[in-house]
């Protein structure tokens, strides 16, 4: 019988009621008295020198409040990068300036040049037309390998070349890996591109700046996954506003998927301009603007080599990757192809030697940063594609080859610096074979073939590192911030509770799931617990939501704070019952004295804390509010096995997903309904990457896919019902809830199985195709089959 409340139950989401009735409060729904609107004049060329910008005629247009250009931001800070990667020579990465508005040069289509603040958006747009702008176009740097060739145009003239860094990991293993590959019985080599994606949360970014002269205080409402991070980055590094004079509010946010982590120029602009104009200033991105200003994801070009011995044991793996940074370094861009990618290259396998080399390259394209999975999908795709290719080359069963090489003992220290605490890869593969009905595949293939279609089966495993991360470790790796999280549990006099959390919910259902934990710990009804998030003036601190960290890190802080509450409440209860602290037990919201029938209710204790007429005032303070900061001891390592079955129409190249199954190990699960929803959504995005999506640039750096007319988003009729299972649970050993995180698994785990299935289908029809890059859209599939 499933639980109906507490940890492990699936109560209906409380936030749904406001979203289902149109009562959500998204940033664009907020309007403040007297607000002006900003329209950004953006570059329509990829690379060029601004030779003239004259705003005088535009400034006289109706409704214009003020027009800003790069000159207004001289002396204002550069938009910072939050992670300094050290290259293989021990030198810091190159960090170009990233101005709020372009200064002298434009570096990608969409780079903001001028900002027109006006009484209405229409007037701002009209005035933009009147700005006299001359740009001397320069050759665009688009292809990463060409960008590193001698004589390439330079995205940033002052850097000398377009290489941000060359990173080697583990550099000490490099020679041994090369040697093992040279001496291997078999080496499988694969060259691939992990296609560039746009995260596309359905809510475009919005920023509303408000400045109060009364108390010299700035407030930014913004579509962010981590308002405290924005306050820190924008306040300390860009605008020079101390935290107590700056509030950042991220109210209901319509999806993030990584792209709403980062600090963006538009946020700094509206905050700056609202003070400069002494008026609130609002910006709402159009979808076209989102395509050319939201940080993109992925875009790695990789060669991977897997060495095997004569018994098909993996002996070494080498990966050489070019990672596109785009024109500027976005907030976490530098960490994605390095520490979030290179450390995962052991995968689920006991490959003893691993080396990865990453060249991070500046190009005249939109900055690239973390998108759902961030580095881990790229690692998983390479590993699981090369393993599949190896199995085909060797004529062995791809699942058997995986099983033979699984890591089976935990904890397991990989050759790429991380230690997996728990996992059971055999169990998830067993579960997958069951739920995907792999034994019935042959019959289903025969049926497809009878109808003139090809059918393919693709399987893959994945491992990811979530719950980022131990602060002292990531500090050594270059993170410029700690990566703990914080929670305050405020118990009110009558026993209800507000929990202020540093995590931000933008679809994950924290408002429902987090109270399940607190209520279970205290034995009270979940309806007595409310989660407060997304406002730096209400929440003490927090690093926000990304990397599947909310429950593992912030949830752990919440548990620690609740434990402090329980400890204090027990002291109060002991006083009320004239017993010893050590004898007090808390169960079902009642404090009792062990071995007696004496008890006091939760509400009696909370009331005593705030009305301390009978209270141990000499020993403890009144009130019942506790804060905890939790810094994880390790990453968490969710893992799993996925299977995809496709049908391929050989006449058109159209691939249809017929079945998709996912067996995940997320450790303990607080709300199974929400966890499964997260996996569904991740699979939707992963299948989107594999079959449909591609952010395309032409050779001049023009973004060809800048609307939903050109960028193929997955729609309901592109996707099937999924079969998902999370019953394999090896709890995380180092956080109090034993949870691992589930937000990114679907997006990490699904692309390789889709492509493995497409290859399987093609080969079953006699087509000699052993790889194709994503997306496997009909034209590309047909071309792959027919050369």
């Amino acid at each position: 019988m499933p639980k109906d409340h507490g940890i492990g139950a699936s109560p209906k989401r409380r936030e749904d009621v406001r979203f289902l009735t149109g009562a959500g409060n998204y940033t664009d729904d907020i309007n403040v008295y007297g607000q002006a609107y900003v329209h950004f004049l953006r570059s329509d060329v990829a690379h060029g020198k601004i030779t003239k910008i004259d705003t005088s005629a535009a400034a006289d247009m109706p409704g214009v409040v003020r027009i800003f250009t790069g000159a207004d931001f001289e002396g204002v800070g550069s938009i910072p990068c939050g992670w300094q990667v050290t290259d293989l020579h021990g030198e810091p990465m190159k960090e170009p300036a990233h101005p709020v508005l372009a200064q002298g040069k434009v570096r990608h289509v969409g780079d903001p040049i001028a900002a027109i603040v006006a009484d209405s958006l229409e007037e701002a747009r009209n005035a933009a037309e009147a700005i006299e702008l001359d740009i001397e176009e320069l050759p665009a740097v688009v292809d990463m390998k060409a960008a590193l060739a001698d004589g390439s145009a330079l995205v940033h003239d002052d850097l000398g070349d377009n290489l941000c860094y060359e990173w080697g990991f583990v550099e000490d293993n490099r020679a041994a890996v090369d040697e093992a590959i040279k001496n291997a019985a078999h080496v499988t080599t694969l060259e691939l591109r992990n296609n560039r994606l746009v995260a596309n949360p359905m809510e475009p970014r919005v920023a509303l700046g408000e400045y109060s002269r009364a108390n010299d205080h700035s407030t930014l409402h913004t579509t962010s996954q981590n308002p405290h991070v924005i306050r820190l980055l924008m306040g300390a590094f860009v605008l020079g506003i101390p935290e107590h004079k700056l509030t950042v509010i991220a109210p209901d946010v319509g999806g993030g998927f990584g792209t709403k982590i980062f600090h963006y120029a538009e946020e700094a602009f509206v905050t700056f301009a609202s003070k400069a104009c002494n008026r609130p200033v609002k910006w709402t991105a159009s979808r076209s603007e989102a395509f050319m200003s939201d940080a993109h994801g992925r875009d790695h070009v990789t060669k991977i080599e897997l060495a095997l011995d004569a018994d098909n044991n993996f002996t070494a793996l080498r990966c050489d990757t070019y990672a596109n940074m785009g024109a500027y370094l976005s907030t976490f861009a530098s960490s994605v192809p390095t520490w979030l990618h290179g450390t995962l290259l052991a995968g689920n396998y006991k490959t003893p030697l691993v080396y990865t080399n990453v060249k991070a390259v500046f190009t005249n394209t939109v900055p690239v940063d973390a998108y759902r999975g961030a580095g881990r999908p790229e690692a998983t795709f390479q590993i699981e594609r090369v393993v599949d290719k190896a199995a085909r080359e060797l004529g062995v069963d791809p699942i058997a080859l995986r099983r033979q090489n699984f890591i089976s003992e935990f904890p397991y220290a990989t050759p790429v610096a991380v230690e997996y605490d728990t996992g059971d890869y055999v169990a998830t593969m067993d579960k997958l074979e069951e739920i995907a009905d792999l034994s019935g595949f042959a019959a289903r293939r025969a049926e497809s073939e009878k109808n003139g279609k090809l059918r393919g089966l693709g399987v893959n495993c994945y491992i990811e590192a979530c719950g980022i991360a131990p602060s002292n470790l990531v500090g050594q790796l270059g993170a410029r911030a700690g990566l703990y999280d914080a929670a305050t549990v405020r118990v009110n006099a009558t026993g209800s509770i507000s929990v202020m959390v540093g995590a931000h919910s933008h679809g994950q259902g924290h408002e429902t799931a987090f109270p399940q934990v607190v209520a279970e710990m205290l034995g009270i009804d979940e309806s007595m617990v409310e989660i407060v998030h997304g406002d730096t003036s209400k929440v003490p601190f927090g690093m926000g939501t990304y990397g599947s960290r909310s429950l593992a890190v912030c949830g752990s802080a919440m548990v620690r704070a609740t434990e402090k509450i329980i400890n204090k409440a027990k002291k109060i209860a002991a006083h009320l019952m004239e017993a010893s602290d050590a004898d007090i037990e808390l169960k079902d919201g009642q404090f009792s004295v062990a071995g007696t029938d004496k008890s006091v209710a939760w509400g009696d204790v909370t009331l005593a804390a705030y009305v301390p007429h009978n209270y141990p005032l000499e020993d403890i303070e009144p009130g019942l509010e506790e804060t905890a900061f939790y810094d994880p001891a390790n990453f968490t390592y969710p893992s799993g096995a996925y299977a995809c079955e496709v049908e391929l129409d050989p006449d058109t190249g159209k691939v249809t997903i017929e079945r998709f199954s996912a067996a995940d190990d997320f450790g303990n699960v607080v709300n199974p309904m929400i966890v499964e929803g997260q996996v569904h959504g991740g699979i939707g995005q992963g299948v989107g990457q594999a079959l449909l999506e591609n952010a395309a640039y032409d050779e001049n750096g023009q973004l060809l896919s800048a609307s939903y007319m050109d960028y193929a988003m997955p729609r309901a009729d592109d996707l099937p019902f999924y079969t998902v299972d999370h019953s394999c649970q090896t709890p995380c050993t180092h956080n109090p809830l034993g949870v691992k995180g589930c937000g990114e698994a679907g997006a990490i785990g699904s692309p390789p199985s889709v492509i493995n299935a497409v290859i399987d289908a093609m080969q079953s029809g006699g087509f000699k195709v052993d790889h194709m890059d994503m997306p496997a859209s009909p034209g590309r599939v047909w071309a792959a089959m027919h050369g």
């Binding site: 989401r13 406001r18 289902l20 009735t21 009562a23 959500g24 998204y26 209901d252 569904h680 939903y708």
Partner: protein, 161 residues
Amino acid sequence: MVEVTLKVNGKSVTKSVKGNTLMTEFLRDELRLTGTHVGCDTSQCGACVIHVNGEAVKGCTMFAAEADGAEVATIEGMASPDGTLSVIQQAFQDHHGLQCGFCTPGMVMSAAALLKDNPKPTEAEVRDYLEGNLCRCTGYHNIVKAIMAASGQDVSSIAAE
């Protein structure tokens, strides 16, 4: 400026609007009905689906001036005045058919239009009908399931909670 008189969620409204004011702008900015969302600028995403004279319409594809004399329904009018959710809204909550909630108003309005014309749609019919509504969170699984459940069909054999 054009004067328009229309009914929105059963309530009569008369306003002066500019000729180029989109229905979405009229609802959001003039009437403060912010449940109708704008997720794109090419009429692709469906976050702005409303009902005009009983038909599902993307609010970004019509001018407010075109709605003179029309009966318009938005997400704000779907629940009962006492707050009881409609069958479709309740099914979305029961089956976790929403995550961030941004596409949800459009999904609910599209679903209502579908079920009016086709009270027992198949899975394929639901997916086909939702072609004009994008969701980035759910992978559509629970949206399709919720709509089928709202039509009174047994969805217990569909995988997952």
